[in-house]
């Protein structure tokens, strides 16, 4: 085994131990799971929430609390991270506050994006910020599909199942999202 493979299998084994102990009620073990997956889940929630920091934090907490409650249902036939991720997607999609917030967010969102991406000293930081802002400004359904498909790697049939829209609608929303982003990035004055 190469060292990379070794690390990966050790990581899984460790995580499985945490999951088992968390299932039995061990909070320290659950905290390890939290620390291990928090940034990923937060990225998902933050983007799905359209860059609303407070709402995203709420969603992250909600997702982990729900994971704790449903841990007994996790059977280990997928990776814990995959299961957790799906659960978080459902938490976000079923929270209607996100849809309502969209109108208010436009003004405050700019600052949120800036602050969240601070510390990114990459050369492409500027484009990244514009892109995140463009994504955050998308209409809710288009944004959800773009985030889930292009960033989080779900397939259209999975997205359709999770969102309750038809597979065709998912594809249409993705197309629409990419088109809108291109327009916004071309001319930042557009909406």
């Amino acid at each position: 085994m190469t060292s990379w493979q070794q690390d990966k299998s050790e990581l899984s084994a460790t995580e499985n131990r945490w999951v088992d102990r968390a299932r039995d009620g061990d909070r320290l073990a659950f905290e390890q799971l939290y620390r291990s997956h928090c940034d990923r889940i937060h990225a998902l929630c933050w983007r799905m929430c359209g860059g609303d920091r407070a709402l995203a934090e709420d969603m992250v907490q909600e997702a982990f609390v729900r994971a704790w409650n449903k841990l007994h249902l996790f059977r280990g036939d997928s990776k814990f991270g995959t299961w957790l991720h799906r659960l978080a997607v459902n938490v976000v999609l079923s929270d209607r506050r996100i849809r309502v917030k969209r109108l208010q967010r436009e003004q405050e969102m700019g600052d949120d994006v800036e602050r969240t991406l601070m510390g990114d000293r990459d050369v492409y930081a500027g484009l990244r910020k514009d892109l995140e802002a463009a994504i955050a400004g998308l209409p809710e359904r288009a944004r959800s599909v773009l985030v889930l498909y292009d960033i989080e790697g779900y397939q259209h049939n999975e997205i359709a199942e999770m969102t309750g829209m038809a597979v065709g609608s998912s594809k249409a929303q993705l197309h629409r999202a990419r088109k809108l982003i291109r327009e916004v990035l071309k001319d930042p004055e557009t909406k």
Partner: protein, 179 residues
């Protein structure tokens, strides 16, 4: 911007974004307010506050949601066929499964449902009709435990009761999501 440029830009977005503050304390605090429960029982935890938990207990002791089960094992009649024997056995097993499934679902009282005006009463009325049927059917089965038709009706009823409870569950879930 070309499609491929956009794709590259999106691909380069980070998949991890650290939150600006540690969210664990908030999560930890909320873990405490919910009973972990015995994982062997796989309870669907629907009650969210102690008040609701008390309401569920009340509903249970009031017999509002607990159904009753077959309390006699089938006494096979000599005139019955092998298929009929097998069927009666199946019904008995299904009864046990039903009681178990039903206890798992254990719905709430209606206060959590945020339903409009007449609805809780209408639904309660429907549930009572189901329970009324259950009572009559079980009484008949006590007298004629091997009656195939009655056993078939019992299976039908269980399926209707489960259907009712599942619908209530869906209502409750969609309601919860909205609040």
């Amino acid at each position: 911007m070309k499609e491929s440029e956009l794709q590259n830009a999106i691909d380069s977005l980070p998949s991890n974004i650290k939150p600006q503050r540690d969210l664990w304390p908030g999560i930890n605090a909320r873990l405490g307010s919910v009973e972990k429960g015995d994982h062997a029982h796989h309870k669907t935890v629907w009650w969210r506050t102690p008040a609701m938990a008390a309401a569920v207990l009340l509903a249970l002791t009031g017999g509002i949601f607990i159904g009753r089960g077959l309390d006699t094992s089938p006494a096979f009649e000599p005139s019955q066929t092998v298929l009929e024997y097998a069927f009666l056995g199946t019904v008995a097993a299904t009864e046990r499964e039903y009681q178990a499934a039903f206890r798992e679902l254990v719905p709430l009282d209606y206060s959590g449902l945020q339903l409009e005006g007449a609805e809780p009463d209408a639904l309660r009325g429907s549930w009572e009709d189901l329970l009324q049927t259950e009572t009559s059917l079980l009484a008949a089965l006590r007298e004629y435990p091997s009656n195939i038709y009655l056993n078939e009706k019992l299976l039908d009823l269980r399926s209707q009761q489960l259907q009712f409870v599942k619908q209530l569950a869906l209502l409750e879930q969609s309601n919860w999501r909205r609040t």
